[in-house]
Amino acid sequence: MTSSTLPLASLDTTPQSAAQAWRQSLQRGLRRLLHNPMTVAGLLVVLALMGVALFAPWIATHDPLAQDLGQALKAPSASHWFGTDEYGRDVFSRLVHGSRISLYIIALVTVIVGPVGLAVGTVSGYFGGWVDDVFMRITDIFISFPSLVLALAFIAALGPGLDHAVIAIALTAWPPIARLARAETLTLRHADFVVAAQLQGATPGRILLRYIAPMCLSSVVVRLTMNMASVILTAAGLGFLGLGAQPPLPEWGAMISTGRRYMMECWWLVAMPGAAIMLVSLAFNLLGDGLRDVLDPRTE
């Protein structure tokens, strides 16, 4: 009897437990994600960025802050792969260490924006009525600015600096997340499983946290990933205007800003950091695109 069921069981892909079902859907998703070469390229660049940030001191060939005026403004060569800047600092090493600042900004903004947007959106969508009105009005106000201009306004109030830039970007980045979470919640709040939970006497807090928020999570994650690209661009823009990270910190946008004076003779001072920004931003866009195709079955 067992001998006749065994071969069948090995072919049967029906999950036996919740954990197994979860594992299977994860595998399926991963396979679909890795099916698209552009997504894989994006993922690889993002992983490389993390690797570089993690092992920055070992990858960098020079001290990113060490000045050597004798070696100032040297073109790319074997000893300085990406050339040197006006103080003789190695541009490659500065880029490598700058990846830490970029990741720091991305991570911090995402950690702030994700939960805040999710909370505002789900609460607003679930309760509706005046709560919804008030929250959405506030969201509308924040959305009615281009994000860089609003970030500029906040920085004008807070003063320049890396942490202030993070706060300013976070303040401008949460409204789209909140809108998305609200839209998802609106489609869910009368769903049978939510009504069933309500009938069992679950509190609104429990319903939001255990039933609605997890359902919104996938689209919020996609949005956050795509958001990372624009976070990088906004941070670089602020750095370029001299309002983000301050020199001598090797932030990529700030590096472009200081390199601008020598741009006509020393193209590498501007070209290299800009290429780094573009590459990372492109990678997050590609990854976000791929994630959306996998996690959001409604597209295409």
Binding site: P146, L152, F154, A156, F240, L241, P273, G274
Partner: protein, 361 residues
């Protein structure tokens, strides 16, 4: 009587056939409600700029009286600015000044902020209009082309191009453009709106240099101005181009999968006729709204591009005021951007309501 008045949308609930002329207006009824919510948003916008202005660590009194002023002068100015009043009252003053078109004086120029903004804005409008023209003229054909050849190499290529447009830091691209097309190739004019020799030669009438020089018949100036504006406008329009081409592609794909397209093909219409006369016609309204939104978001890129190209416009005014800590000017600029954004949003909604037959009841 009271009942009729309290009904929020009486025209929608009446089953009587209305004369044709009012039909268009009736479609605007939801727009009235939208207008109300926009007014609320606008009030919130003002509150936001007011609050940001208040948390500013700089002392507005000190900026006026200077650090050497004695205590009595300081307090006099303090009272004159209304800073001794409670915050809601101050907000009231702020609104009152605003309704009189007064945003205060700019520290940098000493002029009224409103006058300054009116002076620098045409320069930005010129560059932004050319940028959106570039974005639409390149983006729409690219999107249509990609949609009709879905899944082919051309489609992927368009996708990569638009992704690059999304991901490139616009200020960096501007600098690279200057380096290649100005310093190396000498094709483009450098920084500024016009060659130094021609500066101030044409009296500003509309503030749009291309228009002014053409009307004055100064073709030398016109050519120089065109040479200067092309590069920054194209680079500024890159992001809109990416956005518009992506949107066009997905709009077109949605149309091309409809049954009426199949019918048109079965009837034996040429592919060009199907794509341009049937499918494309139906996405026009959507495209218009998209272009309106893209136009607004150009202001963001303009802040950066104007810094790179030393373009004496709105963005440069904003950043230079910001670096000086000139709060009146900064908040004035932020307010103007917000109002433009809201207006364009409202405009794109209105376009939808008026022209899209599906929003008719």
């Amino acid at each position: 009587m009271e009942n009729i008045l309290s009904d929020p949308s009486p025209s929608l609930s009446l089953p009587l056939p209305a004369p044709q002329g009012s039909l268009r207006w009736r479609r605007l009824a939801p727009l009235g409600r939208r207008l109300l919510s926009v007014l609320l948003t606008l009030l919130g916008l003002l509150l936001l700029t007011f609050v940001i202005g208040r948390v500013m660590p700089l002392d507005p009194v000190l900026a006026i009286v200077g650090p050497d002023a004695d205590k009595s002068t300081y307090e006099q100015v303090f009272r004159q600015l209304g800073l001794d009043r409670p915050l809601p009252v101050q907000f009231g003053y702020y609104l009152r000044d605003l309704l009189h078109g007064d945003l205060g004086h700019a520290l940098l120029t000493g002029n009224k902020v409103t006058e300054d903004i009116a002076r620098v804005f045409p320069a930005t409008m010129e560059i932004a209009t050319l940028a959106i023209l570039f974005g639409a003229c390149v983006g729409i054909p690219l999107g249509v082309y990609a949609a009709t050849r879905r899944g082919t190499l051309a489609d992927h290529l368009v996708r990569v191009v638009s992704l690059f447009g999304y991901s490139t830091p616009v200020f960096w691209f501007g600098m690279m453009g200057l380096l290649v097309f100005y310093a190396w190739l000498g094709w483009a004019g450098g920084a500024g709106r016009v060659d130094l020799a021609f500066d101030g030669l044409v009296p500003p009438a509309s503030g749009l240099l291309l228009l002014d020089s053409a009307m004055a018949g100064e073709w030398e100036v016109f050519r120089s101005a065109l040479k200067h504006v092309t590069l920054p406008a194209c680079i500024l329009g890159l992001h809109s181009m990416a956005y518009i081409s992506r949107m066009t592609r997905s709009f077109m794909l949605a149309q091309l999968s409809q049954e009426y397209i199949l019918t048109a093909r079965v009837k034996g219409l040429s592919e060009r006729g199907v794509v341009w006369h049937h499918a494309f016609r139906n996405i026009l309204v959507q495209l218009l709204t998209i272009v309106a939104l893209a136009y607004g978001s150009l202001l963001e890129g303009a802040v950066l591009i104007e810094t790179v190209f030393a373009w004496p416009g709105f963005g440069q005014y904003l950043t230079s005021s910001l670096l000086l800590g000139d709060m009146n000017a900064v908040m004035g600029c932020v307010l103007v951007v917000g109002v433009i954004f809201i207006t364009l949003n409202l405009l794109s909604d209105a376009l939808y309501q008026v022209f899209d037959p599906r929003t008719r009841r």
